[in-house]
Amino acid sequence: MKISKIEFTGYHGTNADNEKDITQKSFLKSSSREDWFGKGCYFFTDGISSSSPQDLAEQWAIDVAWDKTIKAYKYDKYVVFHTLIECERDFVLDLTVKEGLSLFNIFREAVLNKIRMVNKKLAKGDYADSDIFDEMKQSLNINVIIGNVFIKFADVRRIPSIRSNLPNVTMFCVNNTNHDYIDTIKHEVIQKGEIQI
């Protein structure tokens, strides 16, 4: 049987200090529970934004350089990687279409019902989407999640009259290995820049 694969093109902006490690190894998975689709590595891709995914990756690299605690940039040089990922269709969750969102809701309800069946409920707090996504990756072998999310870039934060949480970018999250680094077909630096302080 022929295996049906999908190729994803993405852009990832980061501290220039990471260039060597990423080039030699690959992208390190994030482990923050604040991330949209759980653990993995995130890439901007073509979708709903009016900006190009490469521009978004550049803006991201600049925005996350700012440390609001010390009110200074953590780094002043950044790079943008262009990346190709391949994944079998069966292991892609596409949240840009209603079927994908429906699968997420079905799975979340299944998780909550499992918990209710043993007479348990959360003592405090809420279930984070990112943890449900991590459970999907682990239990259903989902390797790539693509979806539209809202990111409040610094240029929007500077405009006090805008209050929105509607999705403004399309991203995909890759978690296709059992170790810390993801697998790519290729990845290369296509842009280098310096933050104007």
């Binding site: 049906s4 529970r33 269709r89 069966d90 892609v92 969750l93 596409d94 279409v97 079927e99 994908g100 699968l103 079905i106 799975f107 299944a110 998780v111 909550l112 019902n113 499992k114 918990i115 209710r116 069946m117 043993v118 007479n119 348990k120 409920k121 959360l122 003592a123 405090k124 707090g125 279930y127 943890d131 991590d134 459970e135 239990s139 259903l140 072998n141 989902i142």
Partner: protein
């Protein structure tokens, strides 16, 4: 995306996953759980198959079952083991 393939794996998950293991894995992520019932009552097995939450005490209990709120007496939906 292959909707049917993922749906099929979700159905397998529903069949096979052990709820206690699921709770343990969520506890490792920092979640804390408590018993669903309050007031020292045990929930009858009949109710266990429904999403149920109890939001009152005092002899009469308001249960939310499948998102519908209704009041029940203790003897109707709950039993003491």
């Amino acid at each position: 995306m292959n909707y049917q393939a993922i749906l099929s794996r979700i159905n397998q998950y529903i069949e096979n996953v052990d709820a206690n293991q699921l709770i343990q894995s969520l506890e490792k992520k920092g979640y804390e759980f408590e018993d669903l019932f309050v007031g020292g009552l045990n929930i009858d097995r009949y109710v266990i198959f429904h999403p149920v939450d109890i939001v009152g005490t005092n002899g009469k209990y308001t249960a939310i079952i499948n998102n519908e709120r209704a009041s029940y007496s203790c003897s109707f939906f709950f039993c003491h083991k």
